[in-house]
Symmetry: C2
Subunit: 309 residues, 2 copies
C-alpha cells in the first residue's frame, strides 16, 4: 500500500509540474524583419484582441488573395503555359509568339469540349510533367514560400482565405487544395459560358468567356461568392488586376489591410512593372503595404524537394 501511494504521489507531482515550454517558432520565418512584416503582425494582433476596439469577429475575417504573381510565379502565366502545351499535344499548330486572337483560340480549344473529369486529368498530367521554362522545376515548386506562411498564419488566427484570380475556376480548382489548402468553393475566378444538358447530365463549357474575374470585376466575384468585403486583400504589381479588389477591402467597416507584391527582385525572380505604374500609384494614394520581394522576403520559393523516384 505504501509503495502504491509513493508511486502515485510521484506521478501526481510529475503531472502537476509545469513543463518548461519551448518557445513557439517566430511567425513568418521567410519574411525579413521589415516594416511590412511588422504591419502584418501588428494587424493580426489588434484585430484578434477582443479588448481592442478594432477586434474583428471570426466570421468577418475574410482574406482574398490573387494567384498569378501574388502567391505563385506568373512568368509565364501557368494557365497559358498549360493551354499551349495541351494545344501541341492535341496536334494544333501553335506559333512561337501567338497573337492575342490565336491565343484565345488555343485557350478555348483546350478548355472546352470535354468533361470535367477529362479536363482534370489533362491538367493533372500537365502538373505532373511540366517544368517551369526558367527554373526547370515542377510548377508546384514555383509557389511563393512567404505567402504560404502568411496564409497559414492567417488561418491560424481564424481567417477564411479565398483566391480571387483571373484564372478559370475549373483550372484552379485542380490545385488550390494541393498547393494552398484552399478548397474549390473558396476559389473565385473567371468562367466560360455554360449550357446544361439534362440527358447526358453534363454542364458543358461553351467556346466563349462569360466572366473575366479581373480588375473592376473582382469586387463583383467577391460579392457573388462571399457577400462580404474582405478585410485583407493581397494582389501584385503586374497588370493592374488587383487595385479594385484592394480598394474594395478598404471600404470594410472594419480595420483592413492591403498588401501589394512588387516584383523588384531580379536576382531570385523576375523584375516587371506596369507602363502607367497604376498599381503602385494606387498603393501610394490609398496607403497600401507594398511588399518588396527583394527586401521583404528572405526566400522566394520553397526549398527544393528531393526528386521522387
Amino acid at each position: 500500500m505504501k509503495n502504491i501511494l509513493i508511486t502515485l504521489s510521484f506521478l501526481l507531482i510529475a503531472c502537476a509540474t509545469p513543463k518548461k515550454e519551448k518557445a513557439p517558432p517566430a511567425p513568418l520565418p521567410s519574411w525579413a524583419n521589415t516594416q511590412v512584416k511588422e504591419n502584418i503582425l501588428d494587424y493580426i494582433k489588434v484585430i484578434t484582441d477582443p479588448k481592442n476596439p478594432d477586434f474583428i469577429p471570426v466570421e468577418d475575417r475574410i482574406a482574398t488573395f490573387d494567384n498569378d504573381g501574388t502567391i505563385w510565379a506568373e512568368k509565364p502565366v501557368v494557365q497559358g503555359l498549360f493551354a499551349i502545351e495541351r494545344a501541341k499535344e492535341m496536334g494544333m499548330k501553335v506559333s512561337p509568339r501567338p497573337s492575342e486572337k490565336e491565343f484565345l483560340k488555343i485557350v478555348l480549344k483546350t478548355h472546352t469540349g470535354m468533361t470535367d473529369e477529362a479536363f482534370e486529368k489533362e491538367v493533372k498530367e500537365f502538373f505532373d510533367t511540366a517544368l517551369h521554362p526558367t527554373y526547370k522545376v515542377p510548377i508546384d515548386q514555383t509557389v511563393y514560400q512567404p505567402q504560404l506562411e502568411l496564409m497559414q498564419l492567417l488561418k491560424d488566427h481564424g481567417f477564411t482565405i479565398y483566391i480571387s484570380s483571373g484564372g478559370t475556376i475549373e483550372f484552379m480548382r485542380t490545385f488550390s487544395q494541393r498547393l494552398y489548402q484552399i478548397p474549390g468553393e473558396r476559389v473565385i475566378g473567371s468562367n466560360f459560358a455554360y449550357a446544361f444538358e439534362p440527358k447526358t447530365n453534363q454542364l458543358n463549357r461553351l467556346q466563349k468567356f462569360e466572366f473575366n474575374n479581373d480588375k473592376e470585376k473582382k469586387p463583383i466575384g467577391i460579392q457573388r461568392n462571399i457577400g462580404k468585403r474582405p478585410v485583407i486583400a493581397c494582389g501584385n504589381v503586374g497588370n493592374e488586376g488587383d487595385v479594385q479588389m484592394l480598394r474594395y477591402s478598404q471600404g470594410s467597416k472594419y480595420r483592413s489591410l492591403q498588401l501589394l507584391v512588387n516584383h523588384d527582385d531580379g536576382a531570385r525572380e523576375f523584375v516587371y512593372g506596369e507602363p502607367k505604374n497604376t498599381s503602385l500609384n494606387w498603393a501610394q494614394q490609398y496607403k497600401w503595404n507594398v511588399i518588396s520581394m527583394k527586401k521583404d522576403w528572405l526566400k522566394v520559393f520553397p526549398d527544393k524537394k528531393e526528386a521522387v523516384e
Copy 2:
C-alpha cells in the same frame, strides 16, 4: 491511508459504471413515418458509414436547397411582397395587379440605387413589420418546420448546406443566417449587374439583371460558387425552377438524393402545380422522392411564438 484508498476505489467504480443513457430524440419529428422519411434516413445512414461502398467523405457532402416554396412559403413570393411594400413606401404608384413590365420596374427601383447598408435596413424593417397576407404572422414564421429539421439533421451528419434560389443574393443574405443558419457565402442566387466606383468605394447595383439563378442556370450558379455537384438537392413543384438542379445532383459520382416538395395540402398551406406538370414528370422519369406536404409532414409551420413585447 486505508480510508483514502476505499474512497478512491468507490470513485473509480462510479466512473467506470456506464451511465444508463437516455435515448436520443427520434429524428425529423415533424415528418410522418412514411416512405419518404425512411428513404432520407436510410440515405444518411448509408453515406455516413465508412464501411459502406456508398460512403461519402465529409468534404463532398454538399446539399443545395431552393428557398421559395421549398423551405418557406411562396404564396406570395416574399421578395415580391417586399418590393411592392417598399415601392408604396417610396411613393411609387403600384397597380393592384402589376404587369410583368411594371413589376420589373418596381423591383429595379426598390433594389438598386442605395448602399448595401441602406438596403439591409429596409429589408430588416420589412421583416420586422410585415405580416403574411393569408396567415397574418411575421414572415419569419412561414418557414417550413420539417425542412428546418431536415437541414439540421444533415448538418449534424457533416453536410454543408447551400441555398440555390431565384431570389437576389443581397435580399436573401439578410435572413439566411437568422432563419436557416446558412451564412451568406453559402447563398447562391440571382444578381443585378454591378459597377464598382473606386472613389466612393461602392459596388453599385445597376438597373438590370445580370444573372437569374433559376431553371437551367442553377447548375451554373452551383459550378461557380461551389465547383462540386451536390449529392442532395431539394426543390419544389411550382414553376419548374428546380428540375435541372435535381437532375444535376443525380450526375454525382456518389449515391445522391433528390427531394421535390409537392404543394398538395389545401388545409394547411396552398395547393398549386404546373400547367405542363414538368417537375412531377421529371420526378417520375428520374425517380426522385416527391414530398407530399399533406402526407409526409405532420406540421408545416413552426409553432407560433409568443408575441415579443
